[in-house]
């Protein structure tokens, strides 16, 4: 029941606020898969996603007093996880070897063909994108940020953000086509 869950969640959050470790772990396990669903698309593998999730939860437990009870906890957690993903990207930016020199090419894929791709496969091909394309694509397409906001958040120019998005789309479409050649009846 929604009411019971809501009450239990608020009680749990209050206990976490007071620093009870066992209740923090309970909250962590309760939202672990939800958090992973978000962080997996920002990371190259599961290990990296776990690290981002744990970064996010450490921040969350440190700032639980800022959480307003009448707002959605899931939405608040999601925002923290996205910021953790951005922080992770910026922290590791210098380790990424951006040897990928790509140009956006027009790729054509039908809606019908795209609908045959599973959610898990979509996540998988997003994770295969180079980090700089992946983060722009996620922030623009999934989270709804504009290029100005993306440039502020990850420290790139607006033009770079637009370019990265176009290349990310192109790569994804191409990958979708090649990945599911037997299933997709490609056009053009």
């Amino acid at each position: 029941m929604v009411s019971v869950d809501s009450k239990h969640l608020n009680t749990l959050i209050n206990l976490c606020r007071k620093g009870y470790r066992e209740h923090q772990e309970e909250l962590y396990l309760m939202f672990y898969n939800y958090a992973m669903s978000i962080c997996l698309r920002y990371s190259k593998d599961r290990e990296e996603a776990v690290e981002i999730v744990n970064d996010g939860f450490v921040k969350l437990f440190g700032h639980l007093d800022r959480y307003k009870e009448h707002t959605s906890f899931k939405a608040w957690l999601r925002r923290i996880l996205i910021n953790s993903s951005i922080d992770y990207y910026r922290r590791n930016e210098k380790h990424y070897h951006n040897v990928d020199i790509s140009y956006a090419k027009h790729e054509f894929i039908t809606e019908d063909a795209l609908s045959k791709i599973s959610e898990k496969e979509i996540i998988q091909i997003i994770r295969e994108l180079p980090p700089s394309y992946r983060i722009v694509f996620n922030l623009f397409v999934i989270e709804g940020y504009n290029h100005r906001e993306i440039s502020d958040k990850i420290g790139i120019g607006v033009g770079t953000s637009k370019s990265n998005l176009a290349i990310a789309r192109s790569k994804l479409k191409r990958r979708l086509l090649t990945m599911n050649q037997p299933r997709i009846l490609g056009h053009g």
């Binding site: 929604v2 992973m36 698309r41 776990v50 639980l64 795209l114 959610e119 397409v141």
Partner: protein, 418 residues
């Protein structure tokens, strides 16, 4: 398919993705990272509790300290004054007894050294005239000063020369003995006027005085949007008595405040009214009822002005503020399901869901207080006050940020030091 459609489909698929994997090391890693963090919130919670307990202890200590300090100093003066008054009272009683004794032992035998007194006229008028002469000659200052002498006209003489009623001899004897009737002296009790009492109290008041009391009150809150309940509270109070006219009342009250918003009242409220209510979720169903219960610790601070009504009664008027600390607040929502489709012939709603939201503590400067009442002196150490009050919300109170006002009655027993 253009980019916009492509993005939309990708977004829908990504949002629908639910990870179901399990990473055994994830929790271990989190534990390891949390172990490096101090349990700040535990310390903070304890600190706040300690702060509250400490503040209350300090408040109590200051009150008792002030009382002790001033009482000790004043006791010496008071003891001296009481000693003096006791001595004066003993002297007064002694003098009063002496006076009574003296009045009672007034000479009741009159020795007349004159041989004879001739009655020049007969009849009552003549006798009175002779009596006047008799009294004057025998050194009575005034015949009217002695009621017995004044009524001598009613008396006559017997054969053995005693004056009796109804006898009317021609000559008075050499010696006449007048028996004075018993005349008890009973001092009349006179009530001192209120004005004098009040002036005396003002005159006798020295320095600060204190009294402690237990106060109970019943209060009804009034809200524009719902129905306030009648709530009670119990308080431990102190009055700092600056003068017979002016006192400062403060203390600590424990009580509650509750209200409910019923379905018909909800319908009249603006759509965004419940946005400030924590835990309110219109996705559950249509809200058809709300109950708010708060446990409060209140610290009333009131100035009280007194005036005299009677030798043991005073009136008072008071004004002040009451900061409040909501130690706990519970909001209970009642939602209706299928509100749009009531079952035919059945209740309006097919089912309900209750949702409770418990809110942690918060502090508010809550109300402006105005009050009036009366104080009755039960005995030297015990006073009873009863009065009415009105409260006006100064700031928005409660986690839902609502202003309130209300009224109530309160009664208190005050203990003054002996």
């Amino acid at each position: 398919m253009d980019d916009k459609d492509f993005d939309k489909i990708i977004r829908e698929k990504v949002d629908a993705f639910q990870d179901s994997g399990h990473d055994a090391h994830a929790l271990t890693d989190l534990r390891d990272r949390l172990s490096h963090l101090p349990a700040i919130k535990n310390a903070w919670t304890g600190g706040r509790t300690a702060y509250i307990v400490g503040s209350l202890a300090l408040f109590t200590l200051i009150n008792f300290g002030i009382v002790w300090y001033f009482s000790e100093g004043r006791y010496a003066v008071l003891t001296d004054e009481i000693g003096q008054l006791k001595n004066e009272r003993i002297q007064f009683i002694s003098l009063q007894e002496e006076l009574v004794e003296l009045k009672a032992s007034r000479v009741d035998t009159v020795y007349v050294y004159r041989d004879l007194l001739t009655i020049r006229n007969t009849g009552a008028a003549g006798l009175q005239s002779n009596n006047d002469a008799f009294v004057t000659d025998n050194r009575y200052e005034s015949p009217q000063s002695d009621p017995f002498i004044a009524s001598v006209a009613d008396y006559g003489l017997t054969s053995n020369n005693r004056i009796t009623r109804h006898g009317m001899p021609k000559y008075l004897p050499e010696v006449a003995i007048f028996e004075q009737p018993e005349s008890p002296i009973k001092p009349e009790k006179k009530r001192i006027p209120n004005k004098t009492l009040w002036a005396l109290e003002k005159h006798n008041h020295k320095g600060l005085d204190f009294q402690f009391g237990i106060e109970g009150m019943f209060h009804k809150s009034i809200y524009d949007f719902g129905t306030g309940d009648i709530n009670g509270s119990l308080g431990f109070m102190t009055e700092v008595i600056f003068s017979p006219v002016l006192r400062l009342e403060t203390g600590i009250h424990f009580g509650g405040r509750s209200y409910r918003i019923k379905e018909h009242e909800i319908k009249d409220l603006p759509p965004d009214f419940f946005d400030d209510y924590p835990g309110y979720d219109d996705q559950i169903g249509q809200l058809i009822g709300l109950e708010s219960d708060a446990k409060l610790v209140k610290i009333p601070i009131n100035l009280k002005v007194f005036g005299i009504l009677d030798h043991n009664k005073k009136w008072y008027a008071s004004a002040g503020i009451t900061p409040e600390w909501a130690t706990e607040q519970e909001l209970e929502y009642k939602y209706a399901l299928n509100a749009a489709k009531p079952p035919v012939g059945g209740a309006e709603y097919s089912s309900f869901i209750g949702s409770k939201q418990e809110i942690s503590s918060a502090f508010y400067v809550a109300t402006l207080n105005l009050g009036a009442g009366t104080e009755v002196y039960l005995n030297k150490q015990l006073r009873w006050q009863i009065g009415v009050f009105y409260q006006k919300g100064l700031s928005k109170a409660g986690v839902e940020n609502r202003k309130l006002h209300g009224f109530g009655v309160k009664s208190s027993i005050w203990f003054n030091k002996p």
